[in-house]
């Protein structure tokens, strides 16, 4: 019973607003710290690859960005599902707050993929399964954001966005499978980034630390965005008025 009450307490926008405000600096701090450690590993500890020379150092952002871009889409869909199931406004707001960060990371993944591809495959863009899926994921993010932007009524925007996020997440595995199938059939690039020939443990460590840094950053950024969204949506309510008074 107390558990349930607590859950309700934290799902109220007013409580969450304050809580998020306290947590954001910690997540930014953790992200910065992990980023410094990760960059140190990727540039100073990880040795130069004898095949790809130093170009491979791009994977220390490419792979974490790809992982997180997919992970964020799934988290977004989970929030959307929670919102539709329990009709909690905060869940919808979290879903909308995650999308821009997810789209940004998807773009980072595409950009770094292209810059890695040029020296490795000799072309800026190769229709490799991973990159193609990432491109489609980018479209899915854009569709979600465009749909929400086109709807004025916040309730409808929340629900419509949630539904398309769920439809998207059901389709992602099918899309990924179909793109891989298509790729192997057309004998495209068979080199995979993560299967770099001499994948030393230190490289994996670098990627993991960087992935954690991106993770912390994504949490901080989305919490910060959800706070602004809460403020916009709840500006008519009593607690916002009180909050602004104490602040000024």
């Amino acid at each position: 019973m107390t558990n349930r009450l607590n859950l309700y307490k934290y799902s109220s926008p007013a409580t969450f607003y304050a809580l998020a405000g306290k947590m954001i600096p910690w997540f930014y701090g953790a992200a910065a710290l992990l980023c410094i450690v990760g960059l140190y590993i990727s540039f100073f500890l990880a040795p130069t690859d004898f095949q790809q020379s130093d170009a491979y150092r791009i994977i220390f952002i490419h792979v974490p960005a790809s992982w997180m871009s997919m992970f964020i889409y799934i988290v977004m869909a989970v929030w959307a599902a929670l919102g539709l199931a329990f009709n909690t406004r905060l869940s919808f707001m979290m879903a909308s707050a995650l999308a821009p960060t997810g789209a940004m990371l998807t773009f980072v993944s595409l950009w770094t993929g292209a810059l890695w591809g040029k020296p490795t495959w000799g072309a800026w863009w190769v229709w490799d399964a991973r990159l193609t899926s990432e491109l489609i994921l980018f479209f899915l993010y854009l569709g979600f954001m465009a749909l929400q932007a086109a709807i004025d009524d916040p309730r409808r925007a929340d629900r419509a966005g949630a539904l398309i996020a769920l439809v998207g997440v059901v389709n992602v595995p099918i899309i990924y499978f179909s793109v891989r199938w298509w790729n192997t059939l057309h004998q495209g690039a068979s080199v995979s980034m993560t299967k770099a020939p001499s994948m030393a443990a230190i490289m994996l460590e670098g990627m993991l630390v960087m992935a954690l840094a991106v993770w912390m950053y994504a949490i901080a950024a989305s919490l910060s965005r959800v706070r602004s969204i809460i403020l916009e949506r709840e500006r008519n309510s009593q607690w916002v008025a009180q909050l602004l008074e104490t602040e000024i």
Partner: protein, 205 residues
Amino acid sequence: MLEGKNLACVRGERTLFSRLNFMLNEGELLLVQGANGSGKTSLLRMVCGLLAPEFGEILWQGEKIGTVRESYHAEMAYFGHAPAVKEDLSAFENLDFSCRLAGIQVDHEEVKGALGHLGLGHCLNLPAKSLSQGQRRRVALSRLLLAKARLWILDEPLTALDQAALQLVQSLIGEHLHQGGMALLTTHQPAMIPGITPKILDLSA
């Protein structure tokens, strides 16, 4: 029996109404009044089940309308702002299809009779795009005659009608109520339903 309990409606960021209660028994008419934008249409759509209330519940024969959806919809007829008349179909086809889609078994004579009753006997086979606005609304209203619904939910049924049609629709509502039906309606005109004193629900208050 239809009952609204502690209803609240939020559109966008505005609360249109809250803590609204009403009760409608057999043979009663509930007239929903209020200024433009006070939520009359929203209330009617809420009672239909098209709009989920922000708060509160609507009961049909003591059960939430969401749980008895099928039987509730079978006993209810809604007449909204848009008349649900297809321009490319004739008046006859419009009524015929809309009844059959709603699961009402009708034969041709009944359809013709209903349209004739509302004074559309001469334009049965004209495509609806050549009908006037008032005539289209009458096509839509003629469904009420065939639907055999106990609850009528009518949003501005009297607009765009001429004097004769106005009388006719009012007497139709009266007949429906005398036979033990229920009606929920909004109107700008003073509705004079013969022999009925309506309950008033004022949303501006």
